[in-house]
């Protein structure tokens, strides 16, 4: 069996140490980094306004006016992104945890399918999985006369839930394997069955270890929800394109509009990253 890389590398080497960029530097550096990119937006808006003034003599809405006009719609789109990401994360976790426990099952009939599913969905590109769900799932299901519609956004949630499922499964497996074997030996000495050991001793210890990589995964999936724009779900980036078209498709508006999207995601994901690092530090000390 093909064994891909292990998701659960030791804490100090894990990619799940986001935003911890200024650990070596004084903490002031972090706050500064937080300001850096909103400032970039201002620069870009200014630059675009300049380009616009050069390009056109006719009175047109300024970049700032355009942003203010479309911000409510775009933020609504962003809200939709968050809903999709939360739904995908929930669904993926609910399915992924049992699959992850299945990966360490004693029974080959459970273990192998769980491992194969995990490796396939973990190592295929998220965009391809999204395409797969978008194009291969029918738009409605029929049971006799009953028609159950299956809209685009539902398919998108499934498309994002697949990689979440696989990654969660791998996080669970990695966390269980990272618990010292002495815990298993101790439990068996106490007369606990394998199942009891797993649910009463091992998994409760795993929760803390799983939380940081799991939050990191959430941050990644939240940022991936914009991929749904490629297949036409009307989330933030799709709406940005439509707002741009409604403003007469002026090319100088693209930079500020996309910068606005970038800033929204930055504001949402940056705190999650900080929180992840804080949790990692807190739990890392105890492990």
């Amino acid at each position: 069996m093909l064994r891909f890389r292990d998701a659960f590398t030791p804490p100090s080497f894990r990619i799940a140490v986001p935003n911890d960029v200024a650990a070596g530097a004084p903490p002031r550096g972090i706050g500064c980094a937080g300001l850096f990119w909103p400032l970039l937006l201002v620069v870009v808006v200014g630059w675009s306004s300049y380009a616009m003034a050069q390009a056109a003599a006719a009175p047109k809405a300024t970049v700032f006016e355009v942003l203010v006009r479309w911000a409510p719609l775009l933020l609504w789109g962003f809200f939709f992104n968050i809903i999709i990401s939360l739904a995908a994360m929930g669904l993926g976790t609910v399915v992924g945890v049992p699959v992850g426990i299945g990966q360490i099952s004693e029974y080959r009939l459970i273990r192998w399918p769980a491992r194969v599913a995990t490796q396939i969905f973990r190592n295929s590109p998220w965009l391809v999985l999204l395409f797969l769900c978008m194009f291969l799932i029918p738009f409605e299901f029929r049971f006799g006369d009953v028609r159950i519609p299956f809209p685009d956004w539902a398919k998108a949630i499934l498309g994002f839930a697949l990689p979440v499922m696989a990654n969660t499964s791998e996080i669970v497996r990695g966390a269980v394997l990272s618990v010292p074997t002495g815990q298993w030996d101790g439990s068996s000495a106490l007369g606990l069955t394998r199942r009891q050991t797993l649910y009463l001793v091992i998994l409760p210890q795993c929760v803390k270890r799983m939380l940081p990589p799991w939050m990191n995964l959430y941050s990644l999936i939240a940022m991936s929800t914009v991929n749904a724009s490629v297949v036409g779900v009307s989330e933030m980036v799709t709406l940005t394109g439509q707002a741009h078209a409604a403003e007469g498709s002026r090319p100088e508006l693209l930079a500020p509009l996309y910068a606005f999207v970038l800033v929204c995601f930055y504001v949402y994901c940056y705190p999650i990253g900080k929180w992840t690092v804080a949790l990692e530090r807190k739990y890392g000390a105890k492990v």
């Binding site: 093909l2 064994r3 891909f4 890389r5 292990d6 998701a7 590398t9 030791p10 100090s12 080497f13 894990r14 990619i15 140490v17 986001p18 935003n19 960029v21 200024a22 070596g24 530097a25 004084p26 972090i30 500064c32 980094a33 937080g34 850096f36 990119w37 970039l40 870009v44 675009s48 380009a51 190592n123 295929s124 590109p125 965009l127 391809v128 395409f131 194009f135 291969l136 941050s219 940022m223 991936s224 914009v226 991929n227 724009s229 490629v230 980036v237 090319p251 100088e252 693209l254 930079a255 509009l257 996309y258 910068a259 999207v261 970038l262 995601f265 930055y266 994901c269 940056y270 990253g273």
Partner: protein, 252 residues
């Protein structure tokens, strides 16, 4: 090769499974091109992102606070925003603000092509993660080694290149591998700005021949194959570079 093509054509007639990118000359040609463009995109971005990681991690150790701050801002921006929007921002936004240059036949063309923008933004995206990864590798290097190198009269860059980096790379290799695998999986975002790579070509083929299902599964396995190759290469590299006492113990 003709018997193979004929077999697949016949296979289509018998089963309805249309693998036209094998038997049809035109589709095969563009599929091969697309596949190798993905490989090219992956190789170039891997090399560039590792260079960004090495250089950025070096700059992170700088004494100048503003250098560290700018690197910190760079990392924090690229890892907290969606890569797809980064690509759009660069290609549509920044691309428009850059001047246009003559294309040699009287017209004007963008200074940076879509493929180049894809390479730039994907390298920056993965490079930001690589800086982090190399930094954690560097932190694992014992201080005494750096002090010893300084005592030998090594300059900061020499210490970094000859002492710190060789050890840091070994420590960081597993995490680096994860990130590079992710990068290969992310290259298909170039699809969104019409770079004719694997996914884009597949979409063209399934739009022409309406064999969505076959193409979808082919693309999935093509990417799994590429990731598998990279994982093999990384495992071989890890084995080759392994030094007793450094790197992750008890790997698979």
């Amino acid at each position: 090769m003709q018997p193979i093509y004929d077999w697949f054509r016949d296979f289509y007639d018998r089963t309805g499974i249309n693998l036209n990118f094998i038997y049809d000359d035109f589709d095969r040609a563009r599929m091969i091109k697309g596949f190798f463009l993905t490989v090219e995109l992956a190789v170039i971005t891997i090399v560039l992102s590792v260079l960004i990681g090495v250089f950025g991690a070096w700059l992170q150790g700088s004494k100048l606070v503003w250098v560290r701050r700018i690197i910190a801002g760079f990392i924090s921006f690229f890892r907290n925003t969606p890569p797809l929007v980064q690509i759009y921002f660069f290609y549509f936004g920044v691309g428009y603000l850059l001047p246009r240059i003559p294309d040699g036949s009287g017209g004007l063309m963008p200074m940076v092509s879509s493929l180049q923008w894809a390479i730039i933004s994907l390298s920056l995206f993965a490079g930001a993660f690589n800086i982090e990864i190399f930094r954690s590798g560097i932190e694992a290097v014992p201080k005494s080694m750096v002090e010893a190198a300084t005592a030998f009269g090594f300059s900061r860059w020499q210490t970094y290149r000859l002492v710190v980096l060789p050890i840091a790379i070994r420590v960081a290799l597993p995490a680096l591998g994860n990130n590079l695998v992710n990068l290969v999986k992310t290259t298909n975002l170039a699809y969104a700005i019409a770079v004719p790579e694997l996914l884009y070509v597949s979409k063209q083929i399934w739009s022409d021949a309406t064999n969505v299902r076959e193409m979808m599964f082919f693309v999935l396995f093509a990417y799994l194959f590429l990731v598998f190759l990279l994982v093999m290469a990384l495992n071989a590299l890890e084995k080759r570079l392994s030094v007793p006492g450094f790197g992750v113990k008890g790997g698979h």
